[in-house]
């Protein structure tokens, strides 16, 4: 049974259409991440799932029950907000029990639930403090506690980590992921941070301009992006996308900067190549920076599925763990990621290995993935 089904949900604010027919289905125990730039409609969609907003059309189904007209409190959901939304005049304990108090849960049961949740999140020592006496990370934990204490059908997270500093954010990210694995609940998580999406999700829904661009597991979204928007949004640095031309017969070759003296020819893999009608046509070639490395890297495969080329180096960025190299392929600027100890000379030319299995081809008109 699906834990959550979003069926053709539409929403408009005045003249602006914020959601243009969203379809998402999540299995029980999944961790769904809605990711996209600000204004893409992801938070509105989450509010509709929570019942805080009404869709203009479409349905929301939680655990097999259509809840589109059901008020938030009767949907059996819990939500964690970006600002944490802790009740400022209540203690941590009261914050956590408020939902149970509203539902008339007996006091003894409340106390047991608080004790269990506080132990799980290690906030026992904070229970009698007010939110103003807590640090950002502690507030975040309490907000999580308020959601966890309910044991709901569905957890909703609205950018819960974006108010934390970078270090704490990484810690909490791992903690939420562990928590999900431990309690096995279904979670829907909204973020604009594609790293959060990649690291936590079982499936990612990439949203843009009120539409789901791709809804798939992180590997697919990363390696086989459905269109150019997804290719450029996911990954840091993002996927290189350059104009290219497909030539050749049985084993087509992608040519970058065709006709130029420094044109680059990249043989395409035998399997999963472009459909025959794309031969001798212009395409957009996408390749992840990590698929371009220093010459000699074999990408763990046999000879033949990677090729070696020479390219002028324009800039290098040593990050410590690796070196980002900005080069030109057939005149187009492209980023590569080489080993940290490799420092190509800026202004000179260097040799690079390219993992051609990782090449994606897009239709320049529709921007959709071809192969």
């Amino acid at each position: 049974m699906s834990a959550l089904v979003i069926r053709n949900v539409r929403k408009r604010f005045g003249a602006q259409e914020v959601l243009k027919g969203i379809d998402i289905a999540a299995e029980s125990g999944e961790f769904i991440v809605l990711v996209g730039p600000s204004g893409c409609g992801k938070s509105t969609l989450l509010n509709i799932v929570a019942g805080l907003e009404q869709p203009d059309a479409g349905d929301v189904e939680i655990a097999g029950r259509v809840v589109t007209r059901v008020p938030p409190k009767d949907r059996d959901i819990a939500m964690v907000f970006q600002s944490y939304a802790l009740y400022p005049t209540m203690t941590v304990r009261q914050n956590i029990t408020f939902g149970m108090a509203c539902r008339g849960v007996p006091k003894r049961q409340q106390a047991e639930a608080v004790a269990r949740t506080a132990r799980l999140l290690q906030i026992e020592a904070l229970l009698d403090r007010k939110p103003s006496q807590l640090s950002g990370g502690q507030r975040q934990r309490v907000a999580m506690g308020r959601a966890l204490v309910r044991d709901p059908l569905l957890f909703l997270f609205d950018e819960p980590l974006s108010n934390l500093d970078a270090k704490l954010r990484v810690e909490m990210r791992m903690e939420i992921k562990q928590l999900h694995r431990r309690i096995g609940a279904t979670m829907v998580y909204v973020t604009h941070d594609q790293i959060e999406a990649m690291t936590m999700a079982t499936r990612i829904a990439v949203m843009h301009q009120g539409e789901v661009q791709q809804f798939a597991d992180p590997d697919t979204v990363y390696n086989r992006p459905a269109n150019l928007f997804v290719a450029r949004f996911m990954g840091a640095p993002p996927m290189n996308t350059v104009a290219a031309r497909l030539v050749g017969g049985e084993r087509p070759v992608a040519v970058i900067g065709a006709g130029r003296p420094d044109e680059i020819r990249l043989p395409l893999p035998a399997e999963g190549g472009p459909p025959p009608d794309w031969r001798d046509r212009e395409v957009v070639l996408g390749i992840r920076p990590e698929a371009i490395a220093e010459a000699g890297r074999r990408f763990g495969v046999e000879e033949g599925s990677f090729s070696t080329l020479e390219a002028p180096v324009e800039m290098t960025e040593p990050t410590g763990a690796e070196t980002i190299v900005m080069m030109r392929l057939g005149g187009e600027p492209v980023l590569g990621r080489v080993a940290p100890d490799v420092r190509p000379v800026v202004g000179g030319a260097a040799r690079f290995a390219v993992d051609t299995r990782r090449i994606c081809l897009f239709d320049p008109a529709t921007e959709r993935l071809i192969a």
């Binding site: 938030p72 409190k73 939500m79 907000f81 970006q82 600002s83 939304a85 400022p88 209540m90």
Partner: protein, 294 residues
């Protein structure tokens, strides 16, 4: 802001003469403003003979503190010789319920228009606050008709009704402007927790409200206590609030004018609002400038 004010203060601060001039001018204005109060205070401790022999302006020859006790409990106002005490009591019976009820209604109204969206919410808020701008005189005749139809003519209950209704404009405006600073996510969280309209008000919004409630209470208390037009129009005799009674006191011409007792009565009548400001003043300023939630 801070920089600009420092810069505008700078020339005066650098020039000691200029600064003294400013202080002298301000002190002069303050003294001028305080002269009427000084006259009343001085007269309140002078005997009638003392005032009669000279004028209402002069230093007391001896301290006549019994002016206060006479003003409080035995001076004759319109045929009853019980001082202003019963009228003070009337004012309390009027002010306390009117202040509490109008403040609570204002808080509830402010909460509704600030934190809930409903059809025509901005119109409702606009109409309610329109009352702030309507002059009292304009509403005299409508109130006459309303009080007559409700059978509340010449009663303290009638005045309570008037001040509750008229106060709602101000209290709603105050509270609404305070509540708009409460983050929307707080209400969303409460709605998901299962709290309804009134529970969110009692458990979440009202506990955040003391600063603005203090402001509203002080405002309503002083306004209603000092109000005079409705008191004198809609009540007479033993039903009058103290402000209306003071007028009756000043026109009692049965004997030589008792300026000393009258001054004492004025000071006694002004005491409650003075005390409210003394005890609540710092909250008043804090509440006016405070943000709702940190």
């Amino acid at each position: 802001m801070a920089e600009a004010s420092v810069m505008s203060l700078a020339p005066a601060a650098r020039n000691p003469l200029g600064r003294w001039l400013v202080y002298a001018l301000l002190t002069g204005f303050a003294a001028f403003y305080l002269v009427p109060l000084l006259v009343v205070v001085l007269n309140s401790v002078r005997t009638a003979q003392d005032i009669g022999a000279t004028s209402v302006i002069g230093w007391p020859r001896e301290l006549a503190l019994d002016n206060f006790s006479r003003a409080w409990s035995s001076y004759c106002i319109a045929q009853t010789c019980a001082g202003i005490a019963p009228y003070m009591w009337n004012s309390f019976l009027l002010v306390v319920p009117a202040t509490i009820i109008s403040t609570l209604l204002g808080a509830l109204n402010g909460y509704s228009v600030a934190l809930w969206r409903f059809r025509g919410d901005n119109w409702v808020f606009g109409l309610v606050t329109l009352g702030v701008f309507l002059p009292e005189q304009m509403k005299l005749i409508p109130w006459v008709l309303v009080l007559r139809d409700l059978g509340l003519t010449n009663s303290i209950a009638g005045l309570v009704l008037i001040h509750v209704v008229q106060g709602i404009s101000f209290t709603t405006l105050f509270c609404r402007n305070y509540y708009v600073a409460i983050p929307a996510e707080l209400l969303k969280a409460a709605r998901i927790d299962g709290a309804g309209y009134f529970r969110i008000f009692w458990r979440i919004v009202l506990p955040l409200s003391p600063p603005i409630l203090i402001v509203t209470v002080i405002w309503q208390f002083t306004h209603i206590w000092n109000e005079f037009l409705y008191g004198v129009t809609f009540t007479s005799g033993p039903q009058q609030p103290v402000t209306a009674a003071l007028i009756a006191l000043s026109v009692s011409v049965s004997e030589a004018p008792q300026y000393g007792v009258q001054s004492a009565a004025v000071l006694l009548a002004a005491l409650p609002t003075l005390l409210v400001y003394l005890f609540g003043g710092k909250y008043f300023l804090r509440g006016l400038t405070a943000g709702a939630v940190k």
